[in-house]
């Protein structure tokens, strides 16, 4: 077994823990903002402390190597979480901690640990080269989201409602907070599970279920992928 360990430390002004953490827990943007690296993302389960995703990944450079990956996010505290996933059969543990040493300023520390075994040890030189490129690309794609989300939250923004009508109310009162289970509206394609399942219990005796019936149905997920950035139409002759 060979272990590859990467750590990235980044300072960012005009941001907060709330905006930074929201960015990692909002799965809906993955197929749009990171559309070049991720084809699709489906949430199989999520609550306030955990999320399980099924991702379709396209790695940088080797984009033709499209692959599926599980991703499990586990929240430890308001500013820390772990992510367990695999890339080409290589288990990867990611830990992220965001601190706010000063108001409107964060320090983000992310650590990626790759566990290489068997023939995958040969991937070490490639990963050593590729992981910093990939990490920087994802960071720069997410950067405007973090900054803009922070400014919106500081302006009293309410999800699904927008900015308050009154300018006097456009300021945040108290510490900024966003739920870890990012709310979605019914019908959101990210909630389309490949398999829909259910447990039904018929009857009980002294509080003990008599029979549990398990049912499942394979469904065809809709894609999360949406069109890329908008290009303004050029005038004739331009």
């Amino acid at each position: 077994m060979r272990i590859l360990d990467f750590e990235f430390r980044r300072e960012l002004a005009n941001c907060s823990i709330a905006a930074g953490m929201w960015n990692y827990w909002d799965a809906e943007h993955v197929g749009v903002v990171h559309g070049a690296g991720y084809d699709d993302d489906k949430i199989l389960f999520d609550d306030e402390r955990m999320r399980v995703d099924l991702l379709v990944v396209r790695p940088p450079v080797f984009r033709f190597l499209k692959t599926f990956s599980w991703a499990i996010h586990q929240k430890h505290a308001e500013n820390t979480f772990s992510n367990y996933t695999t890339m080409f059969g290589v288990p990867v543990l990611t830990t992220l901690a965001i601190t706010e040493p000063a108001p409107d300023m964060i320090v983000s520390r992310s650590r990626y640990v790759f566990f290489l075994s068997s023939w995958r040890v040969m991937l070490a030189p490639v990963l050593r080269w590729l992981v910093p490129i990939w990490a920087n690309k994802i960071w720069s794609e997410d950067l405007p989201l973090k900054l803009r989300r922070h400014r919106a939250l500081k302006s009293g923004f309410k999800d699904f409602n927008g900015l308050p009508e009154s300018i006097a109310e456009r300021h945040a009162s108290g510490p900024l907070k966003v739920p870890t289970r990012v709310p979605r509206l019914p019908g959101c394609p990210i909630d389309d599970k490949p398999v829909e399942y259910g447990f039904k219990t018929s009857g009980e005796m002294n509080g003990t279920p008599l029979e549990t019936v398990y049912s499942e149905r394979v469904i065809k997920p809709r894609s999360n992928r949406r069109p890329g950035p908008v290009r303004l139409q050029a005038e004739p002759g331009e």
Binding site: W22, R148, G156, F160, N161, G162, L163, I167, V230
Partner: protein, 114 residues
């Protein structure tokens, strides 16, 4: 001091005709309004909106081909005429600003939200 802040201005000058013709899209954060005024070069009159997507605060684009507004974060679409969300039924709408050309500058008015 509290209570002595001047009231926010009712109008702001955002850009010139030349700037809009060149850039096609102008983003202007108006601190006094705590809002982002975004101007799109659309005939016959520019489209002026609050560029803050009511979903999570993302950045809105105008798609000339479909004549719709679309968020860069989650690709949600909005009607460019009345601001309602076309992707999901949602309470929040995109807000519009009235505007007029004055001495070659586009002046945007604050109290024009529907």
């Amino acid at each position: 001091m509290l209570g002595h802040n001047p009231p926010p201005p009712d109008e702001v000058s955002v850009c010139s005709r030349e700037e809009l013709a060149k850039e096609r899209r102008i983003n202007h954060w108006v601190e006094a309004w705590r809002d982002e005024v975004v101007v799109f070069d659309r005939a016959p009159h520019p489209l002026v909106i609050s560029g803050v997507c009511p979903h999570f605060g993302g950045e809105l684009d105008f798609v000339p081909q479909s004549q719709k507004l679309r968020c860069r974060w989650h690709a949600w679409e909005f009607d460019a005429e009345d601001g309602r969300c076309l992707t999901y039924p949602m309470k929040g709408c995109v807000k519009f600003f009235k505007s007029e050309w004055r001495d070659g500058k586009l002046v945007v008015f604050r109290n024009a939200n529907p």
